[in-house]
């Protein structure tokens, strides 16, 4: 028969100081763990939500991001003529895009890399999620640009009506746009031809993006088959736009998760030592109580359970506190460099139920590991020794 739950519960309340230390230690680990995982989740959500399921992107073979890619003008034109490219209002839904990164001061100090995208006037035929929220679109052929909302929040002294000097040219920001919370919101857009000439990138683009006439995966299959046979296309590779962003998200999210895992492991060891210490102190202070319970007829297993329960309760309290504190970060706007594109990506911390569930399991595991030895020590104490007065 088990020792009543109330015994374990009240024993925690009685030892407020040491219980608070153990709970605090576990809560700290939970905060770090949840924060890092919510950072990865927020980043993954933004990048994975980027791109359209109907689009296909073509980049240089082996390139993981547009920045590492080069697609020659004649290659781009060959692709644009293919029947797998859909038509919108009588024109082909295909854009040749140039991308470069520039360093700009960000809010709160330091610099960050900004993705500058040179897009043709029909860019929104393909980037359907892009919508103007303030101002107007840039006029083709003029030194005008539009800024993504996520980037507008992160950069210093850059906003609607202001200017931005890139290279030898000064660009007027005439509009702000949103893109459904995707990575495009962390970009500065301007006229593609102008960007090409300003940076002497004639004849080379970074990517070709087109809307598939049928399904995007089918278009990728057909184009890949062509790439294998047509010498004009052999330097490029095709993938769905979704796949392109998912690959980027995976790289970064995995990196954060691994770093988070290492940090959490190290901190967990500290929290386990703290919990073990608290529980050993509890056992040592309550030796005679334990002796009395055993003398009364409670089995060593029942005593073990009571102390394990106490340790798990401490862990559950730590989990609740840690999760509660972590939820304060949920939705907080932040940004960091996407290592796939080497440029700033704005996103929000995303505390998901799955992350909280993992954090609770982690805490209970810490409680279990921390409590197991002291509980054994309590349960298999010799009754006569336990009852002896100090």
């Amino acid at each position: 028969m088990a020792i009543p739950f109330v015994y374990s519960l009240r024993s925690i309340a009685v030892r407020k100081g040491s219980s608070a230390m153990a709970v605090g230690g576990i809560a700290l680990v939970v905060v770090v763990f949840v924060t890092l995982l919510s950072l990865a989740a927020g980043f993954r959500k933004v990048v994975e939500s980027s791109g359209s399921a109907q689009n296909v992107i073509v980049v240089r073979k082996g390139a993981d991001a547009e920045l590492q890619s080069q697609v020659r003008r004649d290659t781009a034109r060959t692709i644009a003529e293919l029947p797998i490219v859909a038509a919108v209002e009588g024109r082909k839904a295909v854009v040749f895009e140039s991308v470069l990164i520039v360093a700009r001061p960000k809010q709160g100090g330091g610099e960050t890399n900004v993705t500058v995208r040179g897009a043709p006037p029909n860019a929104r035929d393909v980037h359907g999620e892009v919508r103007l929220t303030q101002g107007r679109w840039y006029t083709p052929g003029s030194n005008e640009a539009v800024l993504g909302l996520g980037l507008a929040r992160r950069l210093r002294d850059v906003g609607l009506g202001q200017t931005m000097t890139i290279g030898r040219n000064t660009w007027h920001i005439v509009g702000l746009f949103e893109a459904g919370g995707s990575a495009l919101e962390s970009e500065l857009w301007m006229d593609g031809d102008l960007l090409q000439s300003a940076f002497r990138r004639d004849d080379v683009y970074q990517s070709v993006l087109f809307r598939a006439a049928g399904s995007a995966p089918d278009a990728v299959r057909q184009l890949t088959a062509l790439i294998d046979t047509d010498p004009r296309l052999r330097s490029v590779q095709a993938m769905t736009e979704k796949e392109y962003y998912q690959k980027q998200a995976r790289l970064m999210a995995e990196l954060i998760t691994i770093l988070g895992g290492i940090l959490t492991t190290i901190m967990s060891i500290g929290a386990i030592v703290g919990a073990t210490n608290t529980m050993y102190a509890a056992v040592s202070q309550r030796k005679r109580e334990i002796g009395c319970l055993l003398a009364m007829g409670f089995t060593p297993e029942a005593v073990w359970m009571a102390f394990m329960l106490e340790s798990l309760l401490l862990a559950a309290l730590g989990a609740a506190l840690g999760c509660g504190l972590s939820l304060l970060f949920n939705g907080m706007k932040t940004g960091m460099t996407n290592w796939a594109t080497f440029s700033e990506t704005a996103f929000e911390f995303l505390v998901t139920p799955q992350i909280l569930a993992i954090a609770v399991v982690l805490s209970l595991l810490m409680g279990f590991v921390g409590g197991v030895l002291p509980a054994f020590h309590a349960a298999w104490m010799k009754v006569v020794d336990a009852l002896r007065r100090a």
Partner: protein, 234 residues
Amino acid sequence: MSEPIIELRHVSKVYHKGSADIHPLDDLSLTIDRGDFVALMGPSGSGKTTLLNLLGGLDTPTAGEVLVCGQDLAGLSSRELARWRCDHVSYIFQAYNLLPVLTAYQNVELPLTLLPLSRRERREHVVQALEIVGLAERMYHRPDELSGGQEQRVAIARALACDPELLLADEPTGDLDAHSAQEIMALLIALNRDYGKTIIVVTHDPKVARAAHRELHLEKGVLARDVDLRHEPT
């Protein structure tokens, strides 16, 4: 003819401390009858507490046989011993050993949770035990809200709750003032007289010993004196 509740046959206990052997009990044989009230006396280190621990199945003898309530304790595993203790024996400690986080009611209820009783039956036993010790009105108080004498009365109620045949008390008045000690002894006498409980009290106090029917005097692990106090002039 009285029926024995305890039989010890050539019981010895040896502890090893460093390279030395300590013999708290040395070839001890004795019988205690059901319903008896026995005072166990002797100087410190004479083996009183060791004997009490053997009788309660908290410790095992190095040699000899210990039969309590018809059971040879030598053959029982620790789990069986726990079950046996719960059914037959209760302890009263010098330091009361109440669980400080539980109320008087919950402390008394604790051993009852080991028995197959309903909540209502448990409540009846707890209230009855607390009424016997005169503390029913303080059942929802925690130990730190009670005096030493009251704590020991709660500890006695806890010992009574399971209705054990044998009560083992290790210096139950040792931590109490004279008045409280007198109350506790009166209670133990009443439990023996009115409820027929067999009581064995370890004590240094001759006044406590005088309340008993029989005084066993241990010295260096052997029975030095066995006095039947019922036939002694007071």
